[in-house]
Symmetry: C2
Subunit: 316 residues, 2 copies
């Protein structure tokens, strides 16, 4: 998002969301968690899968992604004082689902993209068959991580995590949204249709991050509902910002091909609402997310608060 696009330093702040001491330094908070996530991903995405498959899987995952989703999971888990091992597994599982979806979406029969995070996409580097297989294996591995043999993650938590991830990744979530996306190329969508597409395509998995983090603990029903609202608002805001960045940022900053949506005649928030109203809508959604956070009644939601601010005000 460019400086012109919206008042990014003026997003509303919720008082109670920072109830536990002052605001946190997101950079410091993230750095410590990212180290754990990267290490865990490197440990769990094994190189010794047969016939080079492990190498392809690692290429798809260990690529300097921003890890927004794992951070969301961990922030939510910390807010509910959840089981740490469960949270780390959930964080990595969500990232594997995200990574597999990128691999498959980049394939020639889908978005046919050759650049991702500044590197050749998986099918460009390893061929389509390996890309297809690696994506499939990454999805399976995500669920494998959530259901370890060890009892350090209680079975009800394992089951809840599998349920949340499966729903958000499948036809009711990400895969369904991608189907709408494919069908909508070259068509004009209304704002509600666009919202429905994004609610599934990217929103469902982002909301699942928050709910999976929450499932690592035992928040009451009120907190759970408020966290769901937070996740829904944030998920949509994320996509609106993505649509804005596709227009305003360059490929180098994005690490992927900019202007792609317009070139492919994909309906976006910018094409439906225009740049200015899109930016205002993103800020409105941010405000909604932070209000929901305040309504959780949880003691320390500072990381969730800071992540929402960062996700909406990012420039790549």
């Amino acid at each position: 998002m460019t400086r012109e696009a919206g008042p990014r330093e003026e997003a509303p702040r919720s008082g109670s969301a920072a109830a536990c001491a002052g605001p946190i330094d997101l950079r410091t908070w993230s750095a410590e968690r990212l180290e754990r996530v990267e290490q865990a991903l490197s440990d769990w995405v094994v190189a010794d899968a047969p016939a080079g498959l492990g190498e392809v899987m690692r290429y798809a995952v260990l690529d300097g992604g921003k890890r927004l989703r794992p951070l969301l999971v961990l922030a939510a888990a910390e807010a509910v004082r959840g089981n740490g091992e469960a949270a780390l597994r959930a964080a990595c599982a969500v990232e594997l689902i995200h990574a597999y979806s990128l691999v498959h979406d980049d394939m020639p029969c889908m978005d046919n993209d050759s650049l991702r995070r500044g590197k050749p996409t998986v099918h460009v580097k390893y061929g389509e068959a390996q890309a297809l297989l690696a994506g499939d294996a990454l999805q399976a591995l995500a669920f494998e991580l959530l259901a370890p043999e060890r009892e350090s993650v209680p079975a009800p938590v394992q089951a809840a995590l599998c349920r949340l991830l499966a729903r958000s990744a499948g036809h009711a979530g990400m895969a369904g949204g991608q189907a709408i996306d494919l069908a909508s190329i070259g068509r004009a969508l209304t704002e509600p249709q666009l919202r429905e597409m994004h609610r599934r395509k990217t929103g469902a998995l982002l909301q699942a991050c928050v709910m999976m983090g929450a499932a690592c603990g035992a928040p009451d029903a009120k907190a759970q509902a408020a966290l769901a609202d937070y996740g829904a608002a944030l998920g949509l805001a994320f996509q609106v910002v993505d649509d804005i960045l596709d227009v305003t940022a360059d490929s180098a900053t994005l690490g992927k091909t900019a202007g792609k949506d317009a070139a492919q005649e994909k309906p976006t928030y910018v094409s439906v609402l225009g740049l200015e109203r899109s930016a205002a809508f993103a800020q409105e959604l941010l405000a909604r997310a932070l209000a929901a956070l305040a309504a959780t009644g949880l003691r320390d939601t500072r990381a969730l608060h800071a992540l929402a601010m960062m996700l909406v005000n990012r420039d790549n």
Copy 2:
């Protein structure tokens, strides 16, 4: 398998495997279970997924497949007197994984097959993008089925089912085997290499059927180990027979393109061992499976016994 290929009516029978009354009539036993499985699949693979995705998913699943895997799950669950709802969910979940793997394997970048069970393959009928997405959504749905919100399936059973399915579908199982398969085209494999490929590619999921059925109950360690042996032997036997049928059967009987492996220069049991030794090996594996069944100490393994006989002695 042709009449010439092996002594198919003379496979060894285990006495104790039929300890509970006489042998069952597999046709009658199967018919009742298949009705439940077909109904459950039709209920669970929803048509209302967005943008036609549901239709594609249903086309891929509700296609008159033999449902060998669901029957194996149900037979194993009955042998351990397991939770009925868990068993039905596991049976359908395994079939969804199988169905997704066929959709992806048939795609142009993999086996490029246009005929499956006598009908156009999914990508031929709906296009590659929809085939890719439908496969992805089917994998997610499999795990969704295993982790229902309702407590009629205890959380430890849900978690165990997710664990078994994820491992058998991923890099250590099916996807890994497929990677070996791809890498082996045009290469000569030794029998141990071929066995390793098949152990992962088809064996792992077939063994998982048995173990998932078992996980619906609470067999003791001895029974569990013996069931794992049964599943491993059966899984390999299934593939050996598949390789034989690829040579001996015609496309109409198979419902898929016969002679495909040879045309693609894929190493098979027939290419490595020859037809006669392959047939003998299949019978040896059947004997091993039935011996393992006898060693379970379970009271009624008649359905598992009959299924093993049928799987090895089938002609399509």
